[in-house]
Every structure is written in C-alpha cells, then in structure tokens.
C-alpha cells in the first residue's frame, strides 16, 4: 500500500513546474542551514585556529588558542562551575519534576491549579528569574534577613555572595524555573501508562510506590531520557540567569562558559580565544547528543522490525 502511494506521488511530482516551486520553497531553509548553521560553525572553528583579536586574522596557529584557553583561570573556573551547576541543576530538576508529576497523578483535588502554579515560572524569562532570585536571596534585605527577624537569629543564607556557594544559588533559581517543565513532560508520560497495568498490579498485590519504581519508571524511561538530554543542553548553554543574577560574581565565582565566550568575543575582543571556547562548548554538547540520537534511531529501527 505504501509502495503504491509512493509511486503515485513520485509520478505526480515529475512535472518540472512542481520541482521548481519546491526547490524555490526550500531555498530559504537550504541557505539558512548552509550559511547560518554549517558555515558559521565552520568559520568559528577556523577562527579558533588563528590568532584573531578584534578582527579575524588569516593565519594558522594550530591549537595555540586551546592551550591558552585551558591555561586561563577564568575558563577553568567556568568549566568547573558548569559541572557543578549542571549536576545540581539536572539532578534537582529531574527529581522535583518527577515527584511533582507522581504526586499530582494521585488524583488530587485542584490539580489544574497546582499544575498552573508549578509551570508558570517556565513562562518567565531567565533574566527575570535571575533578578527575582537575586533580590530574594539578598543577604541584608532578603531571605536571610527576614528569617533572622522572625527569630532564627543564627540563620545564614548568604550563598549569593559566597564564592564557593554562589553557583549553587544560581542552579537553585534555574531549578525553580524548569522543574515545572519536567513535571509537565513526565506527567504526560505517566498518564500514558495504561490503567489496566495499575489494576493488574493491584491484583498482584504490588504497593503503589513499587509500581512506580519497578513498572512505571522503566516504561517512561524514554521520556526521562529526553528530558535529561534537554536539561543537559540547557545547562551547557546557561547564560541569561548568570548575567542577571550575579553577573558572574562575586569576582569570577559564578562564571560560566557561555558568559566567558560572550565577554571575550565582544568585551575583551579576543576572537581567537572565544572561538576556541565555543568549539569546546560545541564538542561538549555533541558528546551528549550523539549517544542519545544513536539510541533513539536504534530504538526506532527496532520498533519497526520487532513488533510481532
């Protein structure tokens, strides 16, 4: 059946006028992909092998920029922060998002209201999120001060001005923004689990928590994996919330790679170094993407063959 209609559509497409219109329509996409995606990426990589400062140079210095990059303290700090931020952000967002989804799935009253409350932060910009949390965590006038006034005189929460804790404060704000999204995605997955599986589990005498852990979670594993990859990429790209919340500070304590690149690209006019940094970021993103896409395409191929 599919073969017949494929033949039919090939036949109807043979007219030259259609080919022409189709190619014209696809031209913007082709130009975009070739120039704005592939071309720019290649050019960036090329610049990273030069000694460009304010303007692109056309020499070739090999991996000089990369060695210089990894000798720059600020870059090393930004990478360390990326790891700390990434792990904290991804773990907490997944955990909280999952718990929220599971608890809402328990046929609670006011579900729609709760969902609205958990998801609204996602509608705000990262900048707004950063600014609000900057204010809330303000040591003199914010959370710390308020709780001290309420009686907890020894309460300390000045993370936002503490060098080794500030990155966690930033991660915290990002979790607030994104947990609702994970909740929405996982809730949809949970709702996709057939009701009859729950009935069968009840008859087997399996307690609900065990059903979630041993039966439901493996069933929604693909959704969790997708959420994980998307969160990872969001972590790698983190920029807005850092700029808004701490400006990279105190000092360079909350520096992140994306901010490093922007600063060196425009502020400190060091194209070569910044391009090397973006290439490193590109490779980092690719390392997460490649295995996931491979696993996805393998699962699709297996699904097409394996169904009896």
């Amino acid at each position: 059946m599919a073969a017949v209609s494929a033949q039919a559509s090939k036949r109807t497409q043979r007219g030259p006028r259609f080919r022409w219109a189709l190619n014209l329509a696809l031209l913007p996409m082709a130009l975009t992909v070739v120039f704005c995606y592939i071309g720019t990426a290649l050019w960036s990589i090329r610049i990273s092998t030069t000694s460009s400062h304010t303007f692109p140079a056309h020499d070739f210095v090999g991996l000089f920029q990369y060695t210089r990059l990894f000798g720059t303290e600020r870059w090393i700090v930004s990478l360390q922060n990326l790891v700390l931020y990434g792990v904290t952000f991804i773990t907490l967002t997944l955990l909280i998002g999952f718990l929220l989804a599971v608890f809402i799935d328990q046929k609670v009253r006011g579900e729609a209201v709760l969902r609205t409350i958990f998801l609204y932060p996602y509608a705000m910009s990262f900048v707004a999120t950063g600014l609000v949390w900057q204010w809330t965590l303000n040591p003199e006038l914010g959370l710390q001060s308020a709780l001290r006034q309420l009686g907890l005189t020894g309460f300390k929460f000045d993370w936002i001005v503490t060098q080794d804790k500030v990155i966690y404060a930033v991660a915290f704000a990002a979790v607030w923004q994104m947990a609702g999204l994970v909740m929405a995605v996982l809730l949809a997955g949970l709702r996709g689990v057939d009701d009859e599986i729950w009935k069968a589990a009840r008859i087997d005498g399996i307690p609900p928590w065990r059903v979630y852990v041993s039966i439901v979670l493996p069933m929604i594993a693909p959704s969790v994996a997708t959420a994980l990859v998307l969160l990872f990429l969001s972590a790698v790209k983190v920029y807005d919330v850092v700029v808004a919340m701490t400006g990279g500070g105190p000092g360079i304590a909350s520096e992140v790679p994306a901010k490093f690149i922007l600063d060196y690209l425009f502020g400190r006019a060091n194209l070569g170094l910044a391009s090397a940094a973006s290439t490193v970021l590109l490779v980092t993103a690719a390392t997460a993407l490649a295995p996931w896409m491979y696993a996805r395409s393998r699962a699709e191929r297996r699904a097409q063959q394996g169904v009896v």
């Binding site: 995606y37 998801l119 990262f126 609000v132 001060s145 308020a146 920029y239």
Partner: protein, 305 residues
C-alpha cells in the same frame, strides 16, 4: 425458565464482615498534599516577593522583612519603572523596551512561523532526499550552543548592513527559530490525511495554491501553538537582543537587566521588581490565558535555553 437457577443465599455458617472505616485523610494523603502545598509555596514565593516589593515604599524595604505585606501599597514604583527608570544612557523607563520588544516579536513571529510552515509543508508532502538530509542538519543545529554561531552572524549581518538593526534581529530570530518551527509544522502536516493533499492535486492545485488555500487554513491548531511558543521565546530572549538588536531596538529583557544591574547609587528595589513584573507580564498573560495550548507547545519539543 426461572431467572436464577439456584438459591442465592449466602452460606449461613459464615459471618459477614463489617464495612471497614475508610477515612479520606490517611497518612499517605497527608504526605501527598503536604508535599504539594509546600512545593506550591516554594514556587509562588518569588511571585509574591516580586509583587509585594513592587508595592512597598523604599523605607519599608530598607527594614528588610521581605515577606511582609506592604503597609501602604503604592504604585509609584510601577510608574517610575515604566516611564522614568534608567536603562543605560537614557532614563525614559522600560516602556521603551516594551515597544522595542513588540516591534521585534511581531515580525519575528510572523516570518519564522511562515518559514516553518513552508518548510514543514515542503518536507512532509513532497519527498526529496536532499531536503530530508538538510532537515536533519537543521534539527541538530538547534542543539548547538548559540555562541558558536555568534561572531560569524555578526559579521554576516554587518556585511549586509543589517547589524544592529531591527531587520537584523528579526533575521536572527527567524534563523534560530527555524528548527523548532519546521519540526512543529512538519509533524503536524505529517499527521494530516494524505488523501486531502492528493485530492487537491487531482483538482489541479499547484505547489503554492495548495499551501495557501488548503494547508494554511487547516493549520489553526498548530498556528496557535507556534504563536505561543515564538512569542514567549522571542519575548524572553536575552542573548540575541543583547548582541544583535542595536541600541535603538533593545528588547525589554536587555533593558530590564540594565535597569537593575547597572544602576549607580542606591538600588530602588521596588522599581526593580515592578520592572521585572512588567517585563514578564506578556508571557505570563499568554501562559495563563492559553492553558492547554501552552502545554501542547512544550510537548511539541520546544525547550528553550
């Protein structure tokens, strides 16, 4: 021919058990609601702080009780944020940014959606090997951190004299919104029955006729989702606005950051919070109004950042 073929009384020797008490409020229920309510409080906290702070006077703010209600609520901070806050060199308020954002969002949304629809249409109804390959690369591109593309895009736009202009930022948003929009429309058109398309071809429709007269009118659900996605994402964008918009067109998010993080002298927290709310107002309203459509947008694979 009786309805019941046997006597249906229960064995007399066995005792009937009483109905067990089943209170609605079990420890499990308490735990669930407890967690949800505490979480809700955590999520609503910043919103409360934002609103409360924006309505307080600076005197009250300096006292430090961030969770207290405003003693004498005033909207002065809002007025100041809107019309006289300093966003860099000028002090004309964040309304400048508001209108800039509007001027950026409207054309960007329209063009990026049109491009996505056209691409999705071409890809799903007209098979083409090289186009499918192109599409795969496009999708991969969506996952790459934008910093890789930045400088070359700057130079490219400068070459055409579009750097720092409204057209420039619109182009940027169209280019970087293309993967998600194309994916959205392609999946949507793939879910429509092929017979419609074939019937239109038999009726003599050409490529563009079918697109404008059949596909677009049928795309209402996905158009709504696309509009919500693009308006929210472009309005909330910071990076592209910072780099490409140029001083006259700075969107609200960039101006907001300027208002708050580059003020000298005493920081007017109430004004800051008012400005933050004003900047978040448009996407929040869209979110509250669109409800289910917003979630559909998320499900369609658009995670920003």
């Amino acid at each position: 021919m009786s309805v019941l073929t046997s006597n249906a009384t229960a064995p007399v020797a066995n005792v009937r058990r009483a109905r067990p008490a089943r209170p609605w409020l079990t420890p499990a229920r308490i735990g669930i609601y407890g967690f949800l309510i505490i979480s809700a409080a955590f999520f609503l906290l910043p919103l409360y702080v934002m609103i409360a702070t924006s309505l307080k006077t600076m005197d009250q703010i300096r006292l430090g009780a961030i969770f207290s209600l405003p003693t004498t609520p005033e909207i002065d901070a809002w007025i100041q944020a809107w019309s006289s806050a300093c966003t860099g060199l000028e002090c004309r308020g964040i309304r400048v940014g508001f209108w800039n954002s509007v001027r950026i969002v409207v054309p960007s949304t329209i063009i990026s959606i049109l491009a996505g629809a056209l691409n999705g249409y071409a890809l799903s109804f007209w098979r083409s090997r090289w186009a499918d390959w192109l599409f795969t690369v496009l999708i991969l591109g969506a996952f790459i951190p934008y910093q890789v593309f930045l400088y070359p895009m700057v130079r490219g736009l400068a070459f055409f004299g579009l750097f720092g202009s409204l057209s420039g930022i619109v182009i940027v948003h169209t280019v970087f919104g293309m993967p998600v929009m194309t994916l959205l429309f392609r999946n949507y058109y793939a879910s429509l029955p092929q017979e419609l398309f074939k019937a239109a071809r038999i009726d003599g429709g050409g490529f563009w006729r079918i697109f404008f007269q059949l596909m677009i009118p049928m795309s209402t659900p996905i158009l709504i989702v696309a509009v919500i996605l693009q308006v929210t994402n472009i309005w909330n964008d910071f990076l592209f606005g910072l780099v490409f918009a140029g001083r006259e067109n700075q969107p609200m998010t960039v101006q907001l950051n300027n208002v708050i993080n580059s003020t000298t002298g005493e920081r007017l927290y109430n004004v800051n919070m008012a400005a933050t709310i004003l900047t978040s107002l448009v996407p929040l309203v869209i979110y509250l109004v669109s409800g289910r459509w917003f979630v559909r947008g998320i499900a369609a694979g658009a995670v920003k950042g």
